[in-house]
Symmetry: C4
Subunit: 233 residues, 4 copies
């Protein structure tokens, strides 16, 4: 079932090593079919090169595996929490990409220093807190998703406008319209982190992009007035 | 029409991902046929691998699309402004390459610290101001080109001797004799930015190259007395 | 004899250049067959691409070459010392990977700043002392192994929980269940070093991962309660 | 004539882009046949991929081109000066590799911080002064070679033990037993520069490798007591 979804999720996962974001098996991508209420996700600990569409594990929105012979990613419940909370998203990517993870480890938000960032993220990419001992013990992966969702709600950040987060001591999660789009946001996040690190090093007083340029770049790519790209894409 | 131009522009764009300067679709190259008064440019948001010469959009010097089924790059009016102001240039490249963009975000000129820089840029690579809200609103991409041209005029910098600029909060633009040459200047700019970042880190009192060595390196590659390379190339 | 071992060791060595950890011939991997009491190791100074399983040199636990026409790696006695001291390990990798070697040269432990580290190393990756002149003169490579083993014993670090070390002024060694697993730990070590360098640069007061998250990440991948990956792998 | 030399020099030049040391056409390798008193060098400004052994330009020790249809590298006289001064060398490589060039631009020697460095360079890699205006005007490339040779003589550095130098405001030159060996020393130099930059960043008080470890590592690879690698290689 859901062959197109499994192919799209498989293909996005297979692009992870070539993207330079992932070493060993440190990353996973999922994508959801909203009509079916089912998402497909990478099986845990499997090499990307060996991945076939039939290996993709299908999971429903109660977290139950509905198809697949392999264990789903150990981060499945985090993906699930994001899909349940945010109906507008269609894909989730988790990596330990070097520079984004560096910001997560340092506990530093990524300010929007330029248009590369503004093209993908409408403002600061936030750090979300680490879990407390009892949250880890109770259900680590589900509570990770819960903490992310609460951070966006409590700080009134629109997850569709800022499709990524850094979890303190851990690593980034991004999301998007579908599996591939969430991967593209992970690539964008890694590049923004790398540039932000250098920007702060070159100029410790560097200021974020002015609001009118943030608006221009974000809105020429997103929303009803967008004119970037080809119509119908 | 202009098949050779479309092939050259297509080929230069296709080299962007392998150059390491560009991720996703963050970059575009154009080239102009001065006799025809028409330039060819990458279509917006199209993958480089999939690009064919027939996809290249042809635009005249009034900014009118004269051939091509796809939307031209969203940065087309910036390229246009440079072609109109500077008759000596034959190609323009725009990327968000990591280290050059880092300098743009930090608002820092790239000093000419060595011969690698001097081989391509005759002195400091400047930062050009960001646009004001009313300039963004009126015509963002055209005014970006206008601001670049004004910066070179007001600071009396010869754009043929310093074929690149960093726009504050944004990213670099370079130009050259043709599409491929403008791409080569983007590669050189990125390398110069990377080395300048390290140079300032190693030695905060590092001084620019002395004028006699700047002259020697620039002039052995450029101008009537050049002796680098093969005759007729 | 021991064809499967030679193939596994050959394959792990051949992965070194693609891993990005090794330039020229600066690295070697070995693996042991505990039942036979024999380990296979890369021959010294041979290119990885040219390596064939029949080139792998077999050495017993007294350090005697038992099969192979080529000289074994000059680091063979270091591998031997680790195999003799630690019965639980099945493979050893030595590289001069850039960021791990940077920490070794700087004489700085790598703190466990995040889950990427915790997934592979249960706490700080230590720096082990350099050898004294008389130790170098007597038997450099054997005494290097001895110093590593003593460091773990004296500081009560479990080598199976922290499968890597940095030798001062030198470079990293890692180990694992088998040749390939020891290589994977070298890849993980390099990534952790790169992220730690950036983390300390971004936030000089960055703190190590809290113990409950260290435990969670290490134990979901290692030991009887592990649930990462596929059963039987 | 000298077909084996031309093939070896061609092959070493063709390895430059894959080595990661060179962008565009920023580098050249030469090799000498001491019996013939002739060296082969890359033609100026030619792409590495297109290079054929018949393109290699043959030059005698008076600097006269004795075979070849193309212009030799613009740096030919620098190579010539090194071959004339140092009879023990058989190859020369010049690149603008990022981190070595960064040290050259910053005017900073590369201290021997570790065994990776000691395996290839017996101590500090020095910065040699830039040329004076009259030296540039008279014969830039020949005087560059002269300044390098004088630096080693005046500072009593053995060029066979320290096969590399950084020229202030410019970039590195390395040499070796033959063309390929000089390229390997450029690779080693670049890695040592990268690690030294990080070492100084992590620990501003980092000390060079102790003499007994420098001796051990250098001498296990070089000289009559060497035991690294295979006999006869």
């Amino acid at each position: 079932m859901l062959d197109a979804l499994k192919e799209a999720v498989c293909e996005a996962n297979r692009q992870l090593p070539a993207s330079g974001l992932v070493h060993l098996t440190w990353g996973n991508v999922s994508g959801i079919d909203r009509a079916a209420g089912i998402f497909g996700i990478k099986p845990s600990g499997v090499d990307y090169e060996a991945l076939r569409p039939t290996d993709i594990v299908l999971v429903d929105l109660d977290g139950k595996v509905v198809e697949g012979a392999l264990n789903p990613s150990s981060d499945t419940k985090t993906h699930l929490a994001l899909y349940r909370a945010w109906e507008g998203i269609g894909g989730v990517t988790h990596t330990h990409s070097v520079d984004a993870t560096t910001f997560a480890q340092a506990g530093r938000d990524i300010p929007c220093f330029g248009t590369t960032h503004a093209d993908h993220f409408y403002g600061t990419i936030p750090v979300c807190r680490a879990l407390m001992p009892e949250e880890v013990e109770q259900d680590y992966e589900a509570n990770t998703g819960k903490a992310i969702v609460e951070h966006f709600r409590d700080h009134r950040i629109d997850p569709l406008a800022v499709p990524g987060v850094l979890q303190l001591h851990h690593a980034p999660f991004t999301w998007g319209k579908n599996a591939l789009d969430s991967l593209h946001n992970s690539i964008a996040l890694e590049m923004c982190a790398r540039m932000a690190l250098g920007t702060m090093q070159l100029n410790s007083a560097a200021t974020p992009i002015p609001p009118h340029i943030l608006d221009k770049h974000y809105l020429r790519k997103h929303g009803p007035g967008a004119y970037y790209g080809q119509k119908g894409h």
